[in-house]
Amino acid sequence: MAFEYAPAPESRSIVDIRPSYGLFIDGEFVDGRGSSFKTVNPATEETLAEIAEASDADVDLAVRAARRAFRGWSRMSGKERAKYLFRIARIIQERARELAVLESIDNGKPIKESRDVDVPVVAAHFFYYAGWADKLDHAGLGPNPQPLGVAGQVIPWNFPLLMLAWKVAPALACGNTVVLKPAETTPLTALLFAEICQQADLPPGVVNIVTGAGSTGQAVVSHPDVDKVAFTGSTAVGKAIARAIAGTDKLATLELGGKAANIVFDDAPIDQAVEGIVGGIFFNQGHVCCAGSRLLVQESVTDEVLGRLKRRMGTLRVGDPLDKNTDIGAINSREQLERIRELSDIGEAEGAERWAPACELPSSGFWFPPTIFTGVTQAHRIARDEVFGPVLSVLTFRTPAEAIEKANNTPYGLSAGVWTEKGSRILHMASQLRAGVVWANTFNKFDPASPFGGYKESGYGREGGRQGLAAYLKEADA
């Protein structure tokens, strides 16, 4: 007897997608002066809207607007700024369903995740930083710390709205104004956020949104009147940004790639560890910079863990992102799908054993089944390169020391996970792992109060928490 779940699609009628979108500058939607490009639904390849590509001149307008707005916004009392942020947070909650549906359509992530994770955490970030706005003197950053000025922010396509919140909320709370460029494949929720700023009566120019691809992003970060650059995305682009701003007085935070180790000891709560492995790598189709893409499992329990993992993977439902029962949605773009395929093929060619559960993929759109590679060693590329897709490499270890060595043997250092019932071991591992976040008996948990950021090629600076304020403030007399 099989329990076939009937399709349970979320209605997309709750959201209006306009045929074309302009830029959001100085509180108004304006036409861009450059060309335009299309954003597509990765689950169906349907064109969703025509998006303006901001030219250098458009970016210049946006930065000027932000500079003008900075005078008033930065002098406003923290309490007043907080009111705007609280208002934005509440509107996000009120329009949560609309935001979730739009995010799933534009990004391809399952509605379950946009509804239950992304949007609630977005609102939580605005609430959290709204709370800080009038308490900046008590953030441990010296008395009366001052905003930096105009922040140029460039965000990725994996969590379009969440990354916007991580960037915009602390910047605004501290009194900065922003020019934000969303990723070219996922601009729609940022543009809906622009509407929310209007709805909240945010003073014009405090938030400006310029859409476009790499050249627009370049224009934002290299604009001479931008004081602070915040970027989340690939390590390659992060390096380019670091080079572009070298020698200027721009400050920067970079949140880049990762190749996190998820370490399972033989005394782990096995069923929950398997859940954590699944959540660690298949959450958001693996499009997570802190994804647990390297499973390090103690040899004595490897067979048991793999057996359970495979059984669990067989229950994952891949398909329509708007179906409430979907666990794994679409890959965000054709380019990304190609990259995942390429790295997986290399994994196979190098001798790792590839396994995926039998699952039927939709005929149109960009799809990749949840996949694991066993028999992987540190010498395999699949264990070193960031795949940024639902692909897990399984390695083994024998002792805690070996686990630490292997976990740290990567150019990245964004996150790690430890699974063990032994508390002392959790603390020991956490102090030895070179990673910005170490989760214990859980994975991929985000909280606005918790700082996030990496070591080595995973970037520098921290977002979230009290530490996240430091990236947008300077000492009063500096």
Binding site: M1, A2, F3, E4, Y5, A6, A8, K112, D116, D267, A268, P269, I270, D271, Q272, E275, G276, T315, K324, N325, E421, N441, T442
Partner: protein
């Protein structure tokens, strides 16, 4: 049946010490993770054909229960009739799995349901389990002699919490022997843990393995007399246990959450969990039951809504 499959575990159950070592050697359960998983499965959206199918299955899995001091022959006869025809207005509505009563009322129910619906009796000094072994076994034999098809026993939680695992094990073994009828067949045994008193998920997992090693047919969460009774995470841990046990021994054991499951929506959440944790082999009244008395009417009401498109009031459904 289980004796040969469980031979490999004879060393485990040889002494209190070896049994303790084994049970404490089982992988732990992380509370936060288990609860998150159960909550995640609870968000599955079951509608239209899947919902209609699930509602009928849930009805077939109900153990219609009355376990009150005030139970009378009249009361249980009413319940027995309801078990046969849960929805008199709709002959396509299936019967429930069993009627669960105290041992002295088994005959009354049996006279009505015959072999169409099972009769389950609680025994072993239900619900506290606080009596001498002789009394518990006599209680069991009495219910079996009265014609019970299934025996719901309670474990001695005091012994379990005190770490006297072998005593609990031996009580289950002895009760199972007491379930044997003169013709050699035996009443199905369900072992109730009263998980609300065991408190931790680690204890729930250990109790599950203990009962399965002792040869139970079913493991059951609660008596319904203690809060919290059945919860999704507790049932999740038990489903993982029966799944692992079958993988280790080849023996399939049933699971019965009891107490506190009142709505069709909740029941469907349990079915989703059965499907995704243990597997669809367990989606059958032989392997999964709901111990509930108020659940049935909500299932019927939802079923009517599915067929007619309208909700009807409580007066359109029979009282127990």
């Amino acid at each position: 049946m289980p004796t040969s499959a469980l031979a490999a575990y004879s060393e485990v159950t040889a002494s209190d010490a070896s049994l303790r070592r084994f049970l404490h050697g089982l992988p732990g359960v992380d509370q936060v993770g288990a609860e998150a998983r159960a909550a995640g499965l609870g968000t599955r959206s079951i509608k239209t054909t899947a919902k209609a199918w699930a509602l009928d299955l849930a009805i077939r899995m109900v153990d219609l229960t009355t376990l009150e001091g005030q139970d009378t022959p009249g009361k249980v006869r009413a319940l027995a009739n309801k078990a046969l025809r849960p929805d008199p207005a709709d002959p396509t509505c299936p019967s429930v799995a069993a009627v669960c009563v105290y041992g002295d009322l088994v005959g009354e129910v049996k006279a009505i349901v015959g072999s169409q619906v099972n009769v389950a009796a609680v025994a072993t000094a239900f619900p506290s389990g606080r009596a001498s072994m002789d009394v518990k076994l006599a209680d069991t034999r009495d219910a079996v002699a009265n014609g019970a098809d299934e025996i719901d026993m309670v474990i001695d939680r005091g012994a379990f919490l005190a770490g006297r695992y072998l005593q609990v094990f031996e009580e289950i073994v002895a009760t199972r022997e007491a379930c044997v009828r003169p013709d050699g067949s035996h009443a199905h045994l369900k072992v109730i843990f009263e998980t609300g008193e065991l408190q931790t998920y680690d204890n729930v997992r250990r109790a599950s393995w203990l009962a399965m090693l002792a040869g139970t047919d079913f493991i059951k969460t609660s008596t319904g007399k203690v809060q919290p009774a059945a919860t999704l995470p507790v049932t999740l841990v038990m489903l993982e246990a029966v799944r692992d046990f079958r993988e280790a021994t080849g023996v399939q054991i049933g699971v019965k959450p009891a107490g506190g499951i009142r709505t069709a929506k909740d029941a469907i959440k349990y079915l989703v969990m059965v499907n995704e944790i243990a597997g669809d082999d367990w989606l059958d009244p032989d392997w999964f039951r709901f111990g509930a008395s108020t659940l049935l009417n909500d299932l019927l009401m939802q079923r009517t809504k599915m067929t007619t498109g309208r909700y009807s009031g409580p007066d359109y459904f029979t009282l127990d």
